[in-house]
Assembly symmetry: C3
Homo-oligomer: 403 residues x 3
């Protein structure tokens, strides 16, 4: 069934009404749909018995963010912001007075048309980087390098690809779970036809949300892919004495500079001038189903962020400690991935660049949790400790590779 | 005379009304005009005695095609789509159930602001390539190469240049020929001032149309130029046993890989995994006026596409056989040009880069025909055979150059 | 106080109404404001006793200028055009039948999304260059070079950065001075956080205007900066026998080609085929407060353009003589700067790349004057001569550096 409805003054295409979910198509390049500014809430949908919620889309204006869209999901004081124009990257999450995210010197949601990924020797991605979670991938990821007669630009193209389709589903029954999904096409003649449905699901009233991505190789040939879920947290969780907690099988320094930070990998410094960044390559333990989880907690253990996922999907994790000054971007990245952040050439050599067969899909699922108090933090840490159990952590004192 | 008219709900500037042609200015950067979505038809123009026709302009939405415009010319079941935003490239032509065009993995009409021609070592053009006919030029064309302290990017800039002016002329008398013309400016201080009026003319009821381009060197210095009319056909015409027919004076393999395909240059394979592409350099024969024509026909000889043009304008032709798998882009290119597809450095060495004197213009005219049945195909082939006559085809077994 | 007002049919945000100035926020990326087409005048503001004036903003259409905004300040026959989309560059100034500006082959106000600064080996800036005054900077300036694993593209990024904020202030009292200010952000994670308020002030009825820029290093680290105010004049002031007049302490040829023009550095040729460009490095004298001024006058000395500024802010000046043919861009640049136009690597070696401490700001102020008659020109020249006084001009016969 297909009909037109008017919600909060904007005409939308209500593509399906299954009795199970209301579906709102905000963008569809095939059907010529891009609704722009848009808003629904439990009230406009005549849902009386729900935790309050709203979902809105805004087209930004001014500077290098002109034309960028931002979806805001709100439920009570819990607010998730993501940008379909920037590959469904999650800008920030707030709840209980705690912010997941960080303060980048890049303080606009930069539209991809202003980004030249090849600039600064392949570091153009840094002109837009400010997300709480940015997908590094999918045709390649990692540090920039020249190989194969091209520049593999830093962390790939997905984050600077506007979605071709953008759909908001809201379950028609309690607890009215909201799902925002966007289609990211990395299509280049002869080179790439990876298409990714990137999804965020949130249940009103909750303090966690699920990221679920399906990457499909639409081509007739096997294709390499990589993904790093570059998940970034600054203040108020990150602070001097904040801790990174994970069930760690092996940890090693990314490069020589990180060797000096190996002894203190579990804790963080205050904002530290000239610290720049230290990166550690982590191989987590998991339970028998492959489930693992990692977290960041503040010093007092009453604020935190956790990520739960499966190491069969994402076997390695980059721990990025960028505890430089506040203005420089005081932030740490907990980055589950198929790969470490070495250039794709090194990742290939070391066997961390998987392939998709023609038409094959691969799914990644991560649950992000805002840990709002001591009980939350303690419980989450206990789950991590249970995964580690009595198993040892191997600390390598040399980098896996020289970049 | 200048007046405002309202046609199908949109206010347009009717710049001139000569009694000979109605002129609709859809875009004019000097006058601040860009009408966006727009539509006329024989009905809205009160033309009763005509074959039905309509011309419309649509602004696309979503993904990397946001903001791209597409002109659709329709007459009965005959439909031509072209994109003024992408240098007047012809996206597809359909009629009699036959499609001229192909299925690229690039399945959006990518807006130039999302294209970085320098990416992938100068192959960024591949991020947008899906046209039935794309102009490769005009300041340069051919494969990417580094020379003169710059990257000559693959096939030049014209296809990723939005037009500065876009005009639709509709003759005010039977048979009401429709002409769409767009102005492509390749202007760079000190480097280039080539301005091209790219034109497509179509007479309602016909199964052919004319491309006529005028390239003018607006600078005070002689300037190199190149053009390859990269004309691309996939299914349903291209299939196993499909044939390329042309009056051929000389044919040679583009590179070593193509040598193995030299014996079968006149026919095509079915979609063939790992075939990639074979290119042949063709020098056609013409009649005494320089007129030649080339064609592609399906195996049964009841569907085809033909291109008629003048070898005094376009002396060489690249035959591009990309009979790889369907998803990889099963397609062949019949590409009349001033030049072969070698990098501009090689084309210069071999004398295939002409120059325009200051203020000089050069014109190119090509008639594309959809051959809808056995009679069409047979007649078109007979004309080609008549041009060849008894003249020999020289088959060189070595490439003209090593790229 | 904050209220909404409607001026000439467009709703604007009137952010403050101090009793001293009316403030119109045309763009604010933080507040989601971008008013687009907009207009005020002394009449719409109910100012009766003023010299007439108007300020308008227009969003351009078509070609590569689609989306570019242009502010036009008009008072009587005096018209200033500047583009906030192109880093507040001044496109042209006209008054008394005299035009400050020039005719570039680039004849659209090219939107930055169509510019790839890295193209042509770092010369992509030339695809947009046509301003009367373009800011070269701020993170770097000068000729393109490869260093530090990146390309320092020609003349930096500021000119191709759309403003994040755009504010028009109009004094609420005679003579109702108009100030247009835009915020240019050069923000890149880990690399740059220079934020510049670029301002143009004009008093209705006057034939001069003031450019005042404040560059702030928002980062926690010292940062290099450079600025060249690339101020360009063609016909009708530039002509055979036109003169460059400045209080010159030292002048030297930029490169070997310019040596041959050293004897005639004070005068200009007619449009001269194959002249290309000659550049001279000038170190001006100033008065005791550092104030200096430079000018261009036509042959008869009845039309001119002058720039007054302080050498403590801008110690050096590049004199760019591009007296090639009219279509090639017959133009001269009088370019006060922190730096000459050598690549940043050379400017660093020679000590002309200053730094800003964390949070430090630096201000630049230049007064541009249209000299409309013999009296204007004579008086301006006399002021320059007074600065020179009896001090000698040192003419070096070798370039300061080999690029």
């Amino acid at each position: 069934m297909k009909k037109k409805v008017v919600v909060s003054g904007i005409i939308m295409s209500l593509v399906s009404f299954s009795g199970m979910a209301k579906q709102f198509v905000l963008t569809d390049s095939e059907k010529g749909i891009a609704v722009g500014d848009w808003h629904v809430s439990n009230q406009t949908l005549n849902i009386a018995n729900s935790t309050t919620f709203s979902v809105q889309n805004n087209v930004l204006k001014g500077g290098k963010q002109a034309g960028s869209e931002v979806i805001t999901i709100t439920s009570g004081d819990f607010i998730i912001k993501l940008s379909p124009t920037r590959g469904m990257g999650i800008l920030s999450v707030e709840g209980e007075g705690i912010r997941l995210g960080w303060d980048s010197p890049v303080n606009e949601v930069v539209h991809p048309s202003f980004i030249n990924l090849e600039s600064r020797g392949g570091l153009g991605w840094l002109d837009g980087f400010n997300e709480m979670m940015v997908r590094c991938g999918f045709a390649w990821s990692g540090h920039a390098t020249k190989a194969d007669n091209m520049v593999y630009t830093l962390h790939g193209r997905a984050a600077n690809t506007p979605v071709s389709k953008l759909i908001v589903d809201i379950n028609d029954y309690a607890p009215y779970t909201i799902t925002v999904k966007g289609l990211i096409k990395e299509n280049t003649f002869k080179k790439s036809q990876l298409e990714t449905w990137a999804t965020l699901s949130y249940t009103p009233g909750s303090r966690s949300f699920i990221v679920k991505d399906t990457v499909t190789n639409q081509s007739d040939y096997p294709r390499d892919y990589q993904i790093i879920y570059h998940s970034n947290f600054g203040t108020p969780i990150l602070e001097q004495g904040a801790r990174f907690i994970a069930p760690v099988k092996q940890i090693s320094p990314f490069n020589h500079y990180a060797i000096s930070g190996l002894a203190t990998w579990q804790t963080y410094l205050a904002p530290t001038p000239n610290f720049d960044e230290m990166v550690f390559n982590v191989i987590p333990y998991a339970d028998k189903q492959g489930k693992t989880q990692v977290m960041l907690t503040n010093k007092d253990g009453d604020k935190g962020a956790g990520i739960a996922y499966n190491i069969n999907q994402l076997p390695v994790l980059s721990l990025w400690k960028n505890t430089d000054t506040l203005k420089q971007g005081y932030v740490t990245g907990l980055e589950p991935g198929t790969s470490f952040a070495y250039p794709v050439t090194i990742e290939r050599q070391q066997g961390r660049v998987p392939q998709l067969a023609p038409k094959q899909s691969v799914e990644f699922s991560l649950t992000y949790s805002l840990l709002a108090n001591k009980a939350d933090v303690t419980a989450y840490e206990a789950e991590i400790k249970a995964i580690q159990g009595t198993r040892q952590t191997s600390v390598l004192d040399k980098p896996l590779a020289n970049e």
